[in-house]
Amino acid sequence: MDIDLLSDVVSESEMALDDHGNMLPNLPQSRLTHEQAYQAVDSSPDSFPRSDSTRPFNIGRQNQAGAVITKIEDIFESITECMLEGKKELTIKLKSRSGHNNKYGDFDDDDADGSGVKRLSTRAITFPTKSPQEAWRFTALLRILELSHEALVTGVVTTKRDIYYRDPELFVKQTVVDRYVDDIAFTLGFERDALNVVAAAKSLVAGAFSIIRTDQSIMDYSIENDGALIPNTKEIRDLNLPDVRWIIVIEKEATFRTLVTNQYWQDSLVGKGIIITAKGYPDVQTRQFLHLLWTRFPRIPIYALVDFDPDGLGIMSTYKHGSMALAHESINLAVPSIQWLGVRSSDFLTDGPDAQGLLKLTARDRRISRKMLEKEMFGEEAQETDWRRELQVMLMTNVKAEIQILGNGESLGTWLDGKLLNGT
């Protein structure tokens, strides 16, 4: 596994690579991140087992993200160097696995460590170049690296489709994105998920509504017993939800499943509703769908049910204000009316401070909380003073809690009824 990046910058190409897929093994930090990643996975006695594996960042993943970010930044750096020094020519050797061509995008079946059993093919992309075709290839590659870097830094999971729509003129067709994303991941020695890019939207929705698609077909979500994939807003011609009284966006898939199994959207004391989960940080498609619901039906209240931790607030903030990275699209994606249903400190600390399921903050949680407090919207006279307070309480008590602390099954339903009846 190598990306022979520096063959023209560094005189000996052999020294640029080692067995771990590090492009620049002589850089101390790339090594460091690697070791930290393993350490964090091995020595996590105080990281509690997560019931929900879809959470975007557990400790191990976070460190892996760090390693991927470092690698991408190394590439940017060498490109900059290359441009500054003029004359120099940079060649990026992109590896793809043979047999991939007919089955792109299906990474999971493959042997991720690239153990050499499969035949590998390599494409060299050179910069700068006189060939327009080559220049386009380089630009596309760079753009995908940039978007993936953005997804990693902001913690927002993006889809291949999202990437394509960010720059359709450049990419021309979806398969270009698919191929590059997979090849980049493979070349860097990670799975595609490590780039924070997933194949397609995984968000689920359940509720008392139906849609009419642009092709006139009708999809009735109220008869889908387990919920269904969230529809693409581009395919929605009309929405039909006469009975819906509320919409809840849930961070955790497990909680979504519990509520769907109990038919909460149908049997709630406050009337019928819609439940959505993006399984962590939302992708663009989920936000587009929620945004559409809000613009078409502004009087139906929309609530967020997220963990009492910095990521929970980050997820809610992404729905409400948009992600920092996609600021230019925020106007089409944000749902400013979203209300915080829970979990707040008062939901579990007053009733019994020894409630099962309280977790202590990690160093990362504290660091992220502090970074969030620095954001403008968390300012003492800004719009989210409530969030500011809860973040501060989190730091004071050093305690966080997952949605599950509210109970499962019926007790969760009772809690939701109470909240929805009394407002937030």
């Binding site: 600390l349 401070p353 003492e380 309480v393 004071m396």
Partner: protein, 312 residues
């Protein structure tokens, strides 16, 4: 026999958000909150007027404020990880004297304590280190203690500055000798997070309390636990000794204040004017000719002052 305390005054909405910490001097009460300003109230007049506002002291909010017993120095720690040192000027105004940053990593410092004369500042870090700084000698770090790496949630320094004690997330309680720079005792802990530690005025006893809902009293000289005060039904967030060392004050997550007799090892008064969290409680320094008084503040954003009801 129980004691009676009466509310003498409440400063309503002293801050726009939770008051996380209060500190006293012989004539003033300083309060810090989730907002950026520190407020200074006079305790000399019965209506506790606002005397000074330290605007924008900590942009992200302030979680700890402490004063030296001489009333001339104060230190405050903000959510951004910065510590500010304040001193009182000729005009009797608090002015910022400087800042302390632990290395270049923001957010490392958490709890803080000042020695009686304000010369030494002790602080904890998230990863369990304890540092002591000499504020007179260029704010230099003079002591660095390592513990087992558990979050240092609370700290205190004996009045003479000889000892530092810390309470940790994992229930650990440590006493350090600042003269030798060594750990003196690792005390049999409370197992659960220790959110407050306090030396008695003479420095012979240490009180520690937190999520275990008991107050443990230790003998500083021998490092032994000498008593357990039980009665709180929620996390204990702060404890404070009266000037004479006869009484201990405690405040809890469920808004209760308790006064304990050290002689009798018993609770002699309980107040529950609020069901909101009391983040901080403090005795006012003993005033000759006046009965004992204390202040309590927290999530209800106000500061309540209590004074002992005298028989006559």
């Amino acid at each position: 026999m129980s004691k009676q305390y009466l509310t003498t005054h409440t400063v309503d909405d002293a801050h726009i958000t939770d008051i996380f910490s209060i500190a006293t001097t012989p004539t003033q009460l300083l309060s810090a909150s989730g907002g950026s300003s520190i407020k200074v109230h006079s305790t000399s007049s019965p209506d506790i007027p606002l005397e000074q506002t330290l605007c924008g002291a900590h942009t992200l909010g302030c979680h700890h404020i402490v004063t030296a017993r001489n009333g001339r120095m104060a230190a405050s720690a903000g959510f951004g990880g910065e510590v500010k040192i304040w001193s009182i000027s000729e005009e009797h105004q608090w002015v910022e004297e400087g800042k302390i940053m632990d290395g270049n990593k923001a957010g490392e410092i958490w709890a803080i304590a000042l020695s009686e004369d304000g010369q030494f500042l002790a602080s904890t870090t998230y990863d369990g280190r304890i540092n002591v700084w000499d504020l007179l000698d260029g704010r230099k770090k003079i002591r660095e203690y390592e513990t087992k790496g558990s979050f240092g949630m609370s700290i205190d320094m004996s009045r003479d500055g000889r000892f530092t004690a810390s309470g940790h997330e994992n229930g650990g309680v440590y006493i350090f000798n600042n003269d030798t720079g060594r750990m003196l005792y690792s005390l049999p802990g409370l197992v659960k997070p220790v959110r407050s530690v306090a030396f008695s005025p003479a420095g012979t006893r240490l009180a520690a309390a937190g999520d275990a809902r008991v107050i443990a009293l230790y003998d500083v000289q021998h490092g032994e636990q000498v008593a357990n005060l039980t009665g709180h039904s929620a996390w204990i967030l702060s404890v404070d000794w009266s000037d004479t060392g006869e009484y201990l004050l405690s405040g809890s997550y469920d808004g209760k204040v308790k006064v304990w007799s050290i002689d009798r090892r018993a609770c002699v008064a309980t107040h529950s004017e609020t069901d909101k969290t009391l983040w901080s409680i403090k005795w006012l320094p003993k005033n000759p000719g006046k009965s004992e008084a204390f202040a309590a503040a927290g999530a209800n954003r106000s500061i309540s002052l209590y004074r002992e009801a005298t028989g006559g």
